[in-house]
């Protein structure tokens, strides 16, 4: 199994082959204090991590901060990382913990009713700074629609589509029943279908 296998899912993956992958070598170098090697790891994973965090927090600036903080934390704790595991799920866990804490704080501030009122309105959603990272019109439309999803649907959607987590994993992570994952994902998909129907 090569490093690409780690991108299939948000859960931890174990390298089973005897030979070390390129990523494993980079991690070992980083564990010996090689910042250049860690820089390469940043360049490999930052885009995917950014998309994942953006899907959760829906704010460009916050995403930037969380991604930066995640890599800094990862470098500080790199000694504790076991190289037989894939690197991305590990940093994704650090990032999503930060992001999820942030979301929980925001959810407490905003009532559920208010979120429902804001609800689904792709036209009002502004991509802002993210716009420069989307060079295609369809891409912009899709991201606008995703951004406009109510937070509880958007998180489930992100975990499923960007992180390829199954229902049980999402349920376990969000501490909700698998049935709720199913219904939220169903609602998210319906909303997206309505928003981007002309693109299908």
């Amino acid at each position: 199994m090569n490093k690409n296998s780690s991108e299939d899912s948000g859960c931890l993956h174990v390298y089973t082959t005897g030979s070390k992958s390129e990523e494993q070598k980079l991690i070992e170098s980083a564990q010996n204090g090689d910042k250049t090697a860690f820089g390469k790891l940043i360049r490999i994973h930052q885009k995917r991590l950014f998309r994942f965090v953006y899907g959760l927090v829906n704010s460009f600036d916050t995403t930037e901060d969380i991604v930066q903080e995640t890599f800094v934390k990862a470098f500080q704790k790199i000694q504790t990382f076991k190289t037989e595991y894939a690197f991305y799920p590990w940093i994704a866990t650090i990032a999503r913990n930060s992001a999820y804490n942030l979301i929980q704080r925001e959810q407490k501030q905003e009532s559920l009713e208010k979120m429902q009122e804001v609800g689904f309105d792709p036209q009002s959603s502004d991509l802002g700074a993210l716009d420069k990272l989307l060079n295609d019109e369809n891409r912009k439309r899709l991201y606008k629609a995703i951004s406009a999803l109510p937070v509880k649907y958007r998180i489930v959607f992100t975990l499923r589509h960007f992180e390829k987590m199954d229902y049980a994993e999402i349920a376990s992570y969000l501490k909700i029943p698998p049935g709720t994952v199913d219904s939220r994902l169903y609602r998210a998909r319906q909303m997206l279908l309505d928003a981007v129907k002309d693109l299908l």
Binding site: K47, V67, F75, D136, N138, L200
Partner: protein, 419 residues
């Protein structure tokens, strides 16, 4: 089954998340239902759209972002890792900064003693301390100077009680370090608005002129915001001589109780709490026997005075919390010898305040007509009496015993009047 049932499960069916019978039922239905097939087809298209367009575009942004993170990493490691060659020089600077910071904190702490709210607490200090110094017979002239120097703006009377208790609490090592700090302070006294150190002879004079000092205190109190209430309480305290003795007694017994407590700990670690409380209760009984006169409840118990004690409880609690915060700050800021001294001073102040707090709770428990309040006050004393902190538990136990004996006395006097 209704059609909506299948529609609701299409999403899970599409993701292969249905199991067993549900999967079979939905599969059978979808094969024969055009609408469901159409919906499934839409889901497939949406999935394709997402997978085609979910990737973020290549851009200079990513390289810039990576560089930003790398620079953040560099600044982090530079801050934490000190090159070997520079370590001794820089650590010396850090030590110096630490010492300077701790001196500033000590000065700030001393200024805070001037706080108007603090005055109410401080008024009682001399009564306990003067007797205590004499009772304990500890020659602490140097430490007296320390405290007078540190506690800027405080009167001689106000500074004496803390000293007495501090000598009980701070161990020898800490006293040595405190002397070093004093020397440092004495070399730089001109910079801060520190009053002249009070000599031992001055203390005697002050004790002689105690009544006059009390009067000046009363005048000061009258100038403050709650002048009427405060001046009254100051007068009340200045009249209560017996309180001086119990303070001295507490001071004396704390040391012996602590020794007994430590001995108890060494004997058996498994029965720590029990041993501590038993040894302390024995000592408390001894204390009761030695000076029963001092344990009398003041006769001025009326509504105004209970409010005074209530206020005192809140003040003591505030002050204890404030000292707790400062202690944390000290421990964080300085890991040098000076930190130990500051910590020691903090401990003494805490002991002093907890003594005041327990007394206030005891007074409330005795004076109040509200049973809930009484229960709360007694509960507070009980909890602290059971605490593993030897000095705290000794103090609490003392007032708890006092409370019990007072209650017994009240009961017996009541039964006599009924007869």
């Amino acid at each position: 089954m209704e059609h909506q049932f299948y529609i609701d499960r299409l999403s899970a069916y599409f993701d292969n998340e249905l199991k067993n019978e549900e999967l079979v039922i939905v599969k059978e239905h979808v094969e024969g239902c055009e609408e469901c097939q159409k919906r499934l087809h839409e889901l497939e298209k949406l999935e394709d759209l997402i997978s085609e367009n979910s990737e973020l575009s290549e851009s200079d942004y990513w390289e810039q972002s990576a560089q930003k993170i790398e620079s953040a990493l560099s600044s982090q490691t530079e801050a934490t890792i000190i090159p070997v060659g520079k370590s001794s020089k820089s650590s010396l600077w850090w030590k110096l900064i630490g010492v300077a910071a701790s001196l500033v904190l000590v000065a700030l702490f001393a200024f805070e003693q001037k706080d108007s709210n603090d005055e109410l607490l401080r008024q009682e200090a001399p009564k306990i301390s003067i007797k205590h110094v004499g009772g304990a017979k500890v020659p602490i002239i140097k430490d007296t100077i320390i405290d007078d120097k540190v506690s800027v703006g405080r009167s001689a009377e106000q500074s004496e009680e803390p000293l007495a208790v501090s000598n009980e609490v701070v161990d020898n090592a800490e006293q040595n370090t405190s002397e070093q700090i004093v020397e440092n302070l004495q070399t730089k006294p001109k910079k801060a608005p520190v009053p002249q150190p009070i000599k031992k002879s001055d203390k005697v004079l002050l004790e002689k002129n105690k009544v006059e000092t009390k009067k000046t205190l009363t005048i000061k109190e009258q100038q403050s915001s709650n002048k009427e209430k405060r001046s009254k309480t100051v007068e009340i305290f200045s009249d209560k001589e017996p309180n001086l003795k119990y303070g001295a007694d507490i001071g004396k017994t704390i040391k012996s109780r602590r020794a007994a407590f430590k001995a108890g700990l060494e004997k058996s670690k498994t029965k720590k709490k029990y041993k501590a409380s038993s040894s302390l209760s024995a000592l408390s009984q001894k204390s009761e026997k030695t000076n029963p006169q001092e344990l009398k409840v003041p006769e001025y118990a009326d509504k105004t005075e209970i409010n005074y004690w209530r206020r005192k409880v809140s003040l003591c609690t505030e002050q204890l919390q404030s000292r707790k915060n400062k202690k944390i700050l000290y421990l964080k800021k300085a890991a040098t010898d000076s930190a130990k001294v500051n910590k020691g001073n903090m401990i003494f102040d805490k002991d002093f305040l907890s003594l005041q707090l327990f007394e206030a709770y005891y007074k409330i428990a005795v004076m109040t007509t509200d049973t809930t309040e009484e229960k709360q006050a007694v509960q507070f004393l009980k909890e602290n009496a059971d605490s593993l902190n030897s000095s705290k538990s000794a103090q609490a136990l003392h007032f708890l015993e006092k409370y019990k004996s007072e209650k017994n006395r009240q009961k017996s006097s009541k039964s006599k009047t009924e007869e």
